[in-house]
Amino acid sequence: MKLTFNAADERFREDIASWLQAHLVGEFEHLKFRGGPGDEHMFPEERKRWEQELAAGGWVGIGWPEACGGRGASIEQQVIFAEEYARAGAPGRIGHIGEGLAGPTIIAFGTPEQKAKYLPGILNGTEFWCQGYSEPSAGSDLANVRTRAVRDPDSGRWRITGQKIWTSLAHESQWCFVLARTEPGSVAHRGLGFFLVRMAQPEITVRPIEQLTGTSEFNEVFFDDALAEDLVGEPGDGWRIAMTLLGFERGVSTLGQQMQFQNELDEIIRIARSNGAASDPAIRQRIAEAHTGLRLMRYNALRMLSGDERSGPDSSALVYKLHWASWHRNLGALAMDVLGPEAELLDGAPYELTRLQSLFLFTRSDTIYGGTNQIQRNIIAERGLGMPKEAKGR
């Protein structure tokens, strides 16, 4: 075990840090610290140009294999990239679903033709992706997919009908990957297909969902006999591919997320020091707890990325979501409590939230999306501890 990075990695750190310092200026200056959770819908055009700037610098897909146009960067270097990116306050990645989810899935399961067709657009920052997983009646029961795909017997092409929900950036994306039922009458995780769908077609309608924040980062997406551009793998492979994709989410991006968390905590500490809350013993305990939780989240991630499997395969990965989601939710409440009665005051009418109010409200979704805390505990108990599976009603 050692905590220090080697010389080559430190040089890599200097490279990305100085590149960001040189490029996150001018038209991009005002994007600093923007576009994070709760702010994802802001400045889409400017952030797309930023993606192209990143791509031109060779900073998109650094962890992808060189054969696929990536740099084959080591885990350490990906960690460093994520850290420096967030440290510089570079904006929330509008291309992260393509780079982190769609791309790796196509690399893992796609045909050579599919790779040639989709990967370059991701790597050059011109094509953006959104995801079509959740459905209104499914919730945590991800396999409860009702969206169906029917193959046209003549053309051999698939057409999709159904409804997806909680799709962020749907109106900013050219592409969507969609989980749909290829086998009529099949249930649960059997009989699903993994489709790549072009968003620009009249058979697709995007409807923003107004949230408790008054804003609309998420959407409902309606497919009414929409044409699927491609099927990844075979009909019936959908569940396996989808599960692999979810695994990609537990990647190095968590380190970047943590730098975002650190920015938030820093702001809370700054306010506490200026408004006197820092002398309140209960607040002191909670700030120290938040600080500790965030540091330990980082060490957990480093252990996970280093492949430490001491306490069973995937143990640190299994607890990761529950840990950060609960931590972040508590941070949101802490922010309000540090502000005291000022927590109530908006930036302006009709409902302009301050950054910390937005944090407070948005973090309530962290313990729900991507598997609720309850589902996470089931998974930890069942996969991590070998306890019996929950009985299903169906």
């Binding site: 408004n275 809350a277 607040i283 009709p350 407070f360 729900i368 009603g393 169906r394």
Partner: protein, 398 residues
Amino acid sequence: MEFRLTDEQYMVRDTAQAFLADASSSGQVRRAMTAARSYDPAVWQRLCTELYVQAVTIPEAYGGLGLGYVDLAIVLEQMGRKLFCSPFMATVGMATNALLLVASDEQKQRWLPAIAEGTQTATLAWTGPQAARAGGSWGAEAVSATWTATAEGYQLDGDLRYVIDGDTADLLIVAARTPGSSGSEGIGLFVVPASSAGVERQWTPTLDQSRRLANLTLRGVSVAADQCLGVAGEGWPQLQKILALAKVSLAAEQLGVASEALDMAVNYTLEREQFGRAIASYQAVKHKAADMKLKAEVACSAVYYAACVASEVLAPDGDVNIAAELDEAAAMAKGYCSDTVFFNAGSALQLFGGVGFTAEYDIQLYFKRAKASELYLGNGAAQREQIAAMLLDGESAQ
């Protein structure tokens, strides 16, 4: 000793419940939230006419119902359940107590009947801009507006913050201090019609849209000698009691919010299916709901005990031993209910899953109210520190 509602009190509850079911639907709450005054004056007038609960604690001599704080708590609990948007909390839960506690008989005759009739609303304005911090600073040091004696009475100056319904109330109960005084010294209480010259008021938009806050600025506001409640400069003990009673009011409302959040969550989980079962059948969901239920039950005991104590405080012949428990009972009620309302509303939001995060479902409104009322007049930790000081710091403590 009888720690249950009387038949008459059940009637008060049922009447309030029926009225609110009709007057505070989800649609009505949402319209009021974005209305000019944050409540519907017509609904308020209906309440004042049909229920007459704005007069619940006002003695019959001044046109009121002459009931106790328990009856007030019953009404506030029901209003919390429906997030009823109205000047009731400010007028009845806060400002009226100041008049009942401190005003002379002439002063009561002057101001209480209009409140009892529903022709005037009122609020309490006492904390300044630098004062209210996280934790335990909702005390005497929060008073920062000033009063100075003049030939014909007093002049009031300064900024007042976080004033509930301060932009619409007709009558302001203002706390101020003599320039240069600090802590509990020098505090005076004044009745100031909002229309007085030198009063400026500014609505401050809030996270919880179902209750308005405002900033007030007093610039050389002249008030006559008979607008001073009690003795100017010796007002802290009275203000302290008024704030304790306000905590009881808030706690009662929090009980309603917390109980309704529980009921909403239980109903939703009985309907919502996941993995082929109603999610209410999962032990994780049941146990969360059980914890919410426990808190709601205990909160109920806390509120109604404190309300009984408050009744003794307000009653002319109240039991002095019980009345002496006010500070402690109010801190316990506000502390326990603050924790409960945020726990219950937050847990309910979690049990609603994704839809709880949408503007469409009402549970988010309860969640926002929960945080707002948790922080107002000090959260659970602040109340506990106050109780700890009573238990641990005095010479005479146990």
